[in-house]
């Protein structure tokens, strides 16, 4: 294993999917480990963080990490009550996520570990735990330089742009691509000509703004939860149709796209079919985008 790598520990959205038919892709919810130069960054704390914690307890060396949370929906935090390093005295955990200040981040993280929802609170964590005050600029952790931006998902949800020694990783677990643009298209005929002109330019602004955050990323990990058929039924739920995800990645000049936050109802066969259709779109658009399925256990060399 090289000194710098990224590993997927959980790739499902919404809820875990521990079904035999799903396990080639993986059943745990969102969690990604990024390790470089002896520093550890963890994106989200879904059920994937549970086996990750067990793995960490068996290794020597690193005893500190920064956990960046996109938001506090259960599938992104529900692994924390079972995350072993939090209960070990020799660990230091730093948390960051949406919130006005460190105290609010702490309240959000600890809320799920209260009676009657869980028998022990975060007070039982033996690790040194710190909740980071939102910085004026970028977050920094070892070699990681991290910026964040609101994305299109219920409540305040962040996407993260991580610069690691010049390599850019963008992590956007939950995001409904092109929501406003589709709303405009649906209502276009209701608008007068001046409104139509303004909304045409608003569509361009919205798309440019969304692309800017992922622009030129070496690695983009992005919500691709729905097929077009399911997206029509679940439009407004805050998740993307994979077609919009792959087109956005192409337009943003991304190097590698990892389809992420897989719908728990989709088995391996269905996700493979989604991937094949993404490859078709990429070929049709004559793009060099390298598109993969984010699979549990998949490790990317970042050296």
């Amino acid at each position: 294993m090289s000194e710098a790598y990224l590993r997927f520990w959980g790739v499902r959205g919404s809820y875990s999917a521990p079904f035999a038919s799903h396990l080639d892709v993986g059943g745990n919810t969102s969690c990604v480990e990024i390790r470089a130069d002896g520093h550890l960054l963890v994106c989200d704390a879904g059920t994937g963080i549970i086996p990750f914690g067990q793995h960490l307890m068996q290794q020597d060396g690193i005893r500190e990490m920064l956990v960046i949370l996109t938001h506090y929906h259960w599938d992104h935090v529900c692994g924390l009550p079972f995350f072993l390093p939090a209960f070990a005295e020799d660990w230091r955990l730093n948390f960051f996520g949406p919130g006005q200040n460190a105290g609010e981040i702490e309240r959000h993280v600890s809320a799920q570990m209260r009676a009657p929802y869980f028998p022990v609170s975060t007070d039982t964590w033996h690790a040194a735990v710190d909740y980071l005050q939102p910085p004026g600029g970028n977050l920094e952790h070892g070699p990681f330089r991290i910026s964040y931006q609101n994305v299109h998902h219920p409540g305040i949800t962040y996407g993260y742009r991580i610069n690691l020694n010049g390599k850019v990783i963008v992590y956007i677990s939950d995001n409904e691509c092109l929501f406003l643009n589709k709303s405009i298209e649906q209502r276009y005929q209701e608008f007068n000509s001046e409104e139509q002109r303004l909304y045409d330019s608003m569509k361009r602004e919205e798309y440019d703004s969304a692309l800017q955050f992922m622009q030129g990323a070496d690695i983009l990990i992005h919500d691709a939860q729905y097929t077009p058929e399911d997206y029509e039924k679940k439009r407004g739920w805050g998740h993307s149709c994979y077609i919009d995800t792959v087109n956005s990645a192409i337009d943003a000049g991304v190097g590698q796209l990892y389809l992420y936050h897989h719908d728990p109802n989709y088995d391996d066969e269905r996700i493979n079919a989604i991937h094949q259709d993404c490859l078709r779109i990429i070929a049709e658009r004559q793009s060099a985008l390298d598109c993969h399925i984010a699979r549990e256990g998949l490790t990317l060399d970042l050296a």
Binding site: G155, F191, Y199, G236
Partner: protein, 124 residues
């Protein structure tokens, strides 16, 4: 512009939204002030209370809900009339806006008439 005209402030990073408000309020007898970010609006909002404040939610520098909560902490704005405008149309965001005392939550894309009616309703 008459100096006594009520001031309507719009905080939204979209130039098209700015144009939409300019068209919508041109004949309403209000003074429109637009800012493209939460940070850029503070020089004004730290010391002035508009008659009506429109706030976008997804902005590059700060989300509008967090910004509204910060504004509510300033005694000057504890009861400022606020309308949220957003491409987000989720119940969680609407609920958060109401908890912060927003008068309305207008989903983008909104016709100019919706802006005109909201300004008339809350300025009068």
């Amino acid at each position: 512009m008459n100096r006594s005209n009520p001031v309507v402030v719009v905080v939204d990073d979209s130039p098209s939204v700015k144009s939409l408000f300019e068209h919508s309020t041109a004949s309403l007898g209000v003074e429109l002030k637009t800012f493209s970010s939460a940070a850029s609006s503070l020089a004004y909002l730290n010391s002035q209370k508009p008659a009506l404040l429109f706030l976008n939610i997804i902005m590059p520098d700060k989300d509008g809900l967090t910004f509204l909560r910060e504004l509510r902490g300033n005694p000057l704005h504890e009861d400022t009339a606020v309308i949220m405008i957003s491409s987000k149309d989720y119940a969680q965001d609407r609920h958060a806006a109401w908890e912060l005392g927003a008068l309305e939550f207008i989903s983008k894309p909104m016709p100019m008439q919706a802006i005109t009616e909201a300004v008339k309703k809350h300025i009068s």
